[in-house]
Symmetry: C2
Subunit: 191 residues, 2 copies
């Protein structure tokens, strides 16, 4: 998506550890009018797939998931990263390794909000090594629900996550696919 690539080139910053910082529009400040356009693009891609629920993971997936859900007219369920007092005991659980924080954490979704018969579109801000996406897929399978596909804002295509998930037969649509990224040479996108 040209508009997104241009925005990444304009506002993205390559930080320590080759991290792409897009927190001016995607995951700290959220440019809601801009993300609405991304939501419309996800809707264009998946509108014929019978999506009845969008699944994401807290916290940075929630904004883009909600703005996409507006287009579909469906609810969002967000997987929570820790088991709080406020959540029902009856949950689906999966494990995610965070490369940012260099530790494992659990994600949970209440069994009430994911079940067979659901046709689920996963929405997330980033896809790199695929740990979060694989964990969300595991929750959906545990629930007996159907995975329609995944909509990713930014895929680091030089990391293995996208290939692993697509090899499972899951449709993955990424609005921007980064082919390479270094502080010296900047960002190049896949054709």
């Amino acid at each position: 998506m040209k508009l997104l690539e241009e925005r990444i080139l304009k506002d993205g910053k390559i930080g320590a550890g080759n991290v792409l910082k897009v927190d001016s529009f995607l995951n700290h400040q959220i440019d809601v009018p801009f993300l609405t356009l991304l939501g419309k693009e996800f809707h264009r891609l998946y509108r014929d797939s019978g999506v009845n629920k969008i699944l994401t993971i807290e916290a940075s997936g929630i904004g883009i998931a909600c703005l996409t859900a507006v287009e579909f007219g469906v609810p969002v369920v967000f997987a929570k990263k820790t088991l709080t007092n406020n959540i029902y005991a009856d949950v689906y659980t999966s494990s995610v390794y965070s490369y940012t924080h260099q530790k494992n954490y659990e994600i949970v979704v209440s069994r009430q909000f994911l079940s067979n018969g659901d046709r689920v579109l996963i929405i997330d801000d980033f896809l790199a090594k695929g740990s979060a996406l694989l964990a969300l897929l595991s929750l959906i399978r545990d629930a007996g629900a159907e995975v329609v596909g995944a909509g990713i804002v930014i895929e680091k295509a030089y990391q293995e996550g996208g290939a692993i998930v697509r090899a499972q037969g899951v449709r993955v649509e990424s609005l921007a696919r980064i082919a390479s990224m270094t502080p010296g040479d900047g960002i190049t996108f896949c054709d």
Copy 2:
């Protein structure tokens, strides 16, 4: 807001520790079409206040904040609960006591995304003792920005947060104000 009160009575559950569980539509599963109506109500209340930014706190505030921001056409900034590798060092910080988790945590907002000249509407899902709201107000004041007011989905009016914040001269608009709540007698709303 009658529609919200009816939804709370229909789907809200009073859990252990007199916690109101509304995770079927507000803070685990997000009923996006319904929350869009709440966003329109916040817009009706604050549309003449010159709001140019919405501030909330991760994770459960992000959905309603984004759906409200759609109506205003402004960005959302969400305060983060821990300092990650991905955030700029240059942040405003404040402390929140979580009664749910019974511990203090820090919230941070990058100085890039809050500054004087901003006219900020705070949006959050709950107001009870006011700890999170007071911390957000502190961030806004540290930034030299203007607080337009706060839009709260559910206020527990029998707890002190709303009174404390209103006594500071801050406009607080809550779409549902709970007067009392017990597992035996259920939920009653303020007039």
